[in-house]
């Protein structure tokens, strides 16, 4: 037996390594807590810049502004957690608002009108799920298509004009306007929606199957998860929550607006992706989405209080989103390397 060698060198620590290790640790922390740190920093900056910012009425106002976005983004979170996308939700919000107001103007009782609007959400969700899981259309393309179709339906039934209902149906406005215990009603709806979605995602077998499908759909399928059904259900929930938001939006502005909800697509994607960087590594989760929505709302509110023109708010949302996701992916890469 010829032993060529058995080399054993004493490990030496380079100073360079130590420095890079500290950098790495910092990056990992920024990735994990970056969104929360950003939220904290915003609060501090605005608190200093505007004496009004940290008052109770203003904070309630921030939550109120978050409420509808949070409900849409919460529903979207389920679709994202299943590994899919839904670009049609904003248009669903608009359509649902139009449906409910037009039906009311046609003399349909308010509860029935609401029910039909929500049912429309369920139908759209089923269509999206069918496209993606049965016809296997790429979700981005498929939901872009349904989104466009929803705009078409919307304009067909509304004629592209707003449907004001505030004078005829003051009781409809009571759904979203006003407050209980001094807290705006939408905040309660948001809390309820978030709680339900959190339970669904974290405590039910459906939620686990959803995560499995999003994590590795082939492995999930071969383990016995009905991945098609799970994904379709996620699309239905997302569209349903978008429809709920549409009704609340119509109630809060007293009118069905043909394009009133379109912007929710972008803001809810931003919130969900921002939220995916909170605490967990790149996983979509409800609490994260909520933090994402609130962070954006705090930014908008604070910037408005400081008197910055509104275009800056959108710049802010974009930069915040990119920065958070970039930090998160850098942090993840470094912590894994």
């Amino acid at each position: 037996m010829t032993l060529i060698e058995s080399p054993q060198a004493a490990p030496e620590v380079h100073t360079r390594t130590l420095a890079s290790r500290i950098g790495r640790r910092t990056a990992a922390i920024l990735g994990r807590y970056g969104a929360l740190i950003a939220l904290g920093a915003l609060v501090i900056v605005f608190a200093i810049a505007s004496p009004y910012f940290l008052t109770l009425p203003n904070l309630l106002q921030v939550l109120n502004q978050s409420a509808l976005s949070a409900i849409v983004a919460g529903g979207l979170t389920l679709v994202l957690a299943s590994g899919q996308f839904d670009l049609s939700i904003g248009y669903m919000v608009s359509l649902s608002g139009i449906i409910v107001t037009i039906l009311m103007l046609q003399g349909v009782p308010i509860p029935v009108a609401i029910l039909i609007a929500l049912l429309a959400g369920v139908v759209v969700g089923i269509v999206n799920g069918f496209l993606v899981t049965v016809l296997r259309v790429n979700a981005l393309v498929g939901t872009l298509g349904t989104g466009s179709a929803l705009i078409g339906v919307n304009y067909f039934i509304s004629g592209g004009t707003p449907q004001p209902v505030s004078t005829q149906f003051p009781e409809f406005l009571q759904i979203a306007i006003g407050s209980w215990l001094g807290i705006p009603k939408p905040v309660f709806y948001m809390a309820g929606a978030m709680l339900i979605l959190w339970i669904v995602l974290n405590k039910t077998d459906f939620g686990r199957n959803l995560r499995a499908t999003g994590g590795n759909s082939e492995a999930a399928r071969l383990a016995g998860v009905r991945t098609g059904r799970v994904t379709t259900t996620a699309f239905v929930v997302a569209a349903l929550f978008a429809a709920i938001t549409g009704v609340l939006l119509a109630s809060s502005i007293g009118s069905g607006q043909p394009t009133g909800g379109d912007n929710y697509t972008m803001s809810s994607f931003a919130a969900a992706f921002l939220g995916s960087t909170v605490l967990r590594e790149g996983q979509f989760h409800i609490l994260g989405t909520l933090v994402g929505v609130v962070t954006v709302a705090v930014g908008f509110n604070g910037l408005a209080l400081v008197g910055v023109p509104s275009f800056v708010q959108f710049l802010f949302q974009g930069i915040l989103l990119i920065a958070a996701v970039a930090f998160s992916s850098i942090g993840r890469r470094l912590s894994r390397e």
Binding site: A10, R208, A212, G215, A219
Partner: protein, 511 residues
Amino acid sequence: MTDAAQRIPLISARGLTKSFGAVRALRGVGLDILPGQVHGLVGANGAGKSTFLNVLAGVVAPDSGELLIDGEPAEIGSPRRAADLGFSFIYQELALVPEFSAIDNMTIGVRPTTPLGLGDARRRKALARGVAERLDLRFPLDKPVRELSIAERGLVAIGRALVSDARFVSMDEPTASLSDVECERLFAIVRELSAAGVAIAYVSHRLDEIEELCDAVTIFKDGQTVASYERGGYTRDELVLGITGARSVQDAIETPDAPVRRDADVVLSVRGLAREPRVRDVSFDVRRGEILGLAGVVGAGRTETLRLLFGADRPLAGEMTLAGSPFRPRSVVDAIARGVALVPEERRSQALVMDESVLFNTKMGGWRAARGVRWLPFVADGRARAAVRTMVERLGVKTASIQSPVRTLSGGNQQKVVFARWLSRDVGIMLLDEPTRGVDIGARRQIWATAEEFAAQGGSVVVVCSELEELAVCHRVVVMVEGRTVGEIEGPGVTEAQMLEAIYTQERTSS
């Protein structure tokens, strides 16, 4: 030896260390790889072989230590630099672009000779064709590689290394998905490369191959190189001892003493099963308590047969009977409901969610059964955790906690998680597809023991395993050639030679 001593090593490593967080992946790696040398790297999963190769590939920067290339200190730093040095890497998880053809995949690293890369297509094609001839590739080179079998894709990956005129080629488990015939072809290629002066790092768990092919071998254990030997300078026992620390060959490779069970009930009966092109005419019976092996070369239709049994694909012809009643699974869920389970071929892509925990992966697909109250959708987490903990202990899964992501586990322990999933459900038949691929010797033994225990308790096992010698655990082996079952060998103690003879006499008559 004198010859070797005169040559300057192409690669010389001294005291390399590397930590990932708290994990010390390399704790002192040193070895020399000479030009033209086939250098075997052996060791359990997680022993540091892959990390060492990643250092050479410029993917991982070592924390400390010295690396000499051609006798000069060198820092590789980036994959691009590694390519410039003429280093080529064939990974276990083949890094091919599925939509690209074999030609495009092979020439992906070829830099254009004209400013815009115009007119390069012909040169690429010529390069690829030349290599294909050397490798004796018999499949279309212009089809997307996703349409090729796994073995064929492996050959494409080797082709890429040849196209780049490498001075050093690293092969990580290159035979894992190859049949014996294809292995022989690969060995011929390796020898040819070696004769042309190319140095080769050859990672394998198959010690036969190491003994046959390698001019030198280095043993990795716990991130260190514990010994290097020259060809013929070691015994099998020494290798096994170096790798495992304690076990002897006899212990490391299972020794079955299984009685034949001719009298037991037939649980699953398959007649004339077909799904062209891979499965043409498959018939066999599986009895209660039996481990049945499916032997054959890659492309014989073994994996595809298991998929049909599991409802992952639907047969176009044939009948199946399960426990006396017709069995026509329309989906995986149907098959599972009838007590059929599959441990798939590709652990990472087909069996596990790598970022999720051991707990999550064990329960995956079975969360519905983990409800606290049957008609309420809520999971009883405490009970699920307790059940998984028991199962993890029973199978000896080595993990820091059941909450650790499975990505942090070694290959063998990941595979045990897949077994734990099925053993915690009501399963009568386990279909195992290459259950020991990429698994080190110690875990391999435990995996076979688990299968044996499952059969001993009245379950049935159908297993596909390209390492024919391991099919010795089977009570009976069915031989498949080109999508047909062509014969049976009664065990116990079916030998590799018996199976090879059955496979190759059939191949000769069928061609």
